[in-house]
Symmetry: C2
Subunit: 418 residues, 2 copies
């Protein structure tokens, strides 16, 4: 079987399993999630042994320490998978929920029912835990999925997939509801993202270049974000303590994450007060500061920012800082240089908070809170399959609801159109 | 200016106007809609004169009677535009609505705000009234739009566009919020559907070949439906009167519309009762019947259906009829041959109604009601920009909400991530 036939075969099976899983009762889906958790728990030794093969290959292929770290499974990370499965099982089932059912003047009742999307294709890099997390969210939301992990984690992923199959089978659900692409051939990705008849949406997880490539080549809709160039704007009317706390947390809580602040905007009238306080903390934590000329004149250790800095997601202990006239310039800067991910204002001014919320066109807009909160768990979604900065369908952290859509239902009693 | 520069210029202006219109107060948007209605009303003579030029060109270019009919404006159709504008003005404004705002354990409040998509590109054929309808829906939902009508209606569209500009300007809103592509050059469409930096979504309205071509070439998301192969399934437990009334209405109320029934499925046990009654009415109305062998044995005037018939949207007085074993075969037929548009069951059986609603994967699923109800007005959306049979974003009739999406808002009081 060549790669095209192989992928098509996965697609046909996924579509069939997707129809079954879309009708499955919540109790059965939850049972499957808990059975998968059980199987994974008792397979810890096997998973670690299979993972060791990947780690060895990875080392001999010269993967760097960060990559190897993301690749590694441990009893602790396996336990986190098990807990994750239990958490997803405990979430409410979004499928079949009927909303806004009301009578129309014609006498028919019209409402909307939440339904699965169908088949989700997920393409990801090294982290084997994505295999479990993604499968759990797709299963709970009534979707079948086809998972394509990185070739560097192929043994780990196959071992996890075998646990998932056992769990599905013990719960009496079709094992083709979760399928792993069992080949390292890169052509498989090309097929997956263009099988429109079998796959309804693609979720790529990984580095920007992977996501860019997939978005460019996919003929199937993609749920994604490319950049997280997040801003915090400290307004004239900010509370100084809150401003410092939030701006430090947004930058330094974790550096390599998409919801970390990359650019700090400060209103001119408060810059002289707040920037020296912030600079002290940033420099103490080893954050490199790159600022506009005015910023540099207030912070001696600051180097000059270039045009490129305002467009860069550092994912590192580097921060760009710009002093602006006020709210209008801040909003303009964010809407121009931002990536529609997450942007926050620090202010005590009611009117400016209200304007910022309405006028900043990002998927998460915050007042007096750290950008680090942009996360499925923090938002109460229970888990997330990814974050979307697109405008259609789901925006921001995408949880179970983002893997569903609403169809119309109409109830009548012999009603006809006049 | 070449066509690429011209379209890019429209795009830049639309993006700018889109930002303004996204922040505009409801009152101002409604005022603009009413002002446009006023200007159109007092410009009736001019509109009819400009439309006459298009009709003349159309006739000399050999447009058929149906095309000329769609192209023609009359005092009555102009009045319908005016009424349409007033109706959209009276609808609630979806923009800025905040839902599900609740406190999370961390202390932050998380909710969602409904926001415009940005810039909508609309591509349509002959009917000049689409210019007004589409502009009204985009304006009300806080979006800028770029409208590309057919070259055959270019004078009519430009005259209408000039009324829209006057109305916007009288209400103090940017006239670039609604722009018409003022060239008949087909290359303009190619530019419009690939200007990802300036346009957020494309809505094509017209024949299937137009929509197919646009969906294939667009790099911007498209809200669309291709086919309306709608089914009515008459179940064993159907009420005979309701079955006949619905099946006749669904087919014969209007033939050329996407929510007309194209295939009738009948449970074997009731076929002998219901089909002769239906055949009489269909034949009286001149509907050609094409059936499976069993159907043909019950209806002498019925000709044999081919495999192609089950896949065809006739948009004409032709109906294909298939006798099925029962609910399972009906659902299987619909999910296989259907177009995810609108499908209905006629039954008095609670369990089968419940299963049909859940298991038929179409954008509108109905019980004991005519498929002809699948319509934005009938559903209470006030108006529709189109119907979507896609799975992401909006499904079924797309109204004001379908031209918006939800961003997350987070309110804190100095909260940081622990």
């Amino acid at each position: 079987m060549n790669i095209k036939e192989y992928m098509n075969d996965l697609g046909v099976k996924a579509r069939k399993a997707g129809r079954e899983i879309s009708r499955a009762e919540s109790g059965k889906k939850n049972l499957a999630l808990l059975k998968i958790a059980e199987v994974i728990e008792r397979s810890t030794a096997i998973l670690i042994a299979e993972n060791a093969k990947d780690l060895e290959t990875g080392k001999s292929n010269g993967l760097d320490a960060a990559m190897l770290d993301r690749l590694a499974l441990s009893p602790k990370s396996i336990n986190a998978m098990v807990e994750g499965l239990k958490q997803v099982a405990a979430l409410p089932d979004p499928v079949g929920e009927i909303t806004d059912l009301s009578y129309r003047p014609s006498g028919i009742q019209v409402g909307q029912m939440r339904v699965p999307l169908g088949v989700i294709g997920i393409i990801y890099e090294s982290r084997p835990n994505v295999t479990v997390d993604a499968a759990a969210l797709c299963l709970k939301s009534g979707n079948a999925c086809i998972l394509r992990g990185g070739s560097e984690s192929i043994h780990s992923n196959q071992a996890i997939a075998s646990c998932i199959s056992k769990g599905l089978s013990e719960a009496g659900l079709p094992i083709e509801a979760v399928q792993i692409v069992a080949t390292a051939d890169r052509a498989a990705v090309g097929e997956l993202i263009t099988m429109n008849q079998h796959v309804d949406v693609i979720v790529p997880r990984g580095g920007k270049s992977l996501i860019e490539r997939i978005s460019k080549d996919a003929t199937i809709p993609v749920i994604k974000h490319l950049d997280g160039i997040c801003h915090v704007y400290i307004d004239d009317n900010a509370d100084l303590d809150k401003a410092v706390t939030i701006a430090v947390n947004a930058k330094t809580h974790r550096y390599g994450v998409c919801n970390a602040m990359e650019t700090l905007l400060v209103a001119e009238s408060i810059a002289g007060l707040v920037l020296p306080l912030l600079a002290e903390q940033y420099l103490e934590k080893g954050v490199e500061l790159r600022g506009c000329p005015k910023t540099c004149s207030l912070i001696p250790a600051c180097i000059r920012a270039t045009e490129e800095d305002w467009q860069t997601e550092y994912l590192a202990p580097i921060l760009s800082i710009k002093i602006v006239n006020g709210l209008d310039e801040a909003i303009e800067h964010i809407n121009h240089y931002g990536s529609l991910h997450t942007d926050a204002i620090v202010t005590e001014d009611y009117t400016k908070a209200r304007r910022f919320l309405r006028e900043v066109d990002s998927s998460s807009v915050m007042v007096n809170a750290s950008t680090r909160f942009a996360d499925g768990f923090e938002y109460g979604l229970g888990a997330e399959i990814g974050i979307s900065t697109d405008k259609l369908h789901a925006r921001g952290p995408v949880g179970l609801k983002g893997l569903t859509s609403l169809k119309y239902i109409v109830l009548g009693d012999g009603h006809i159109r006049q």
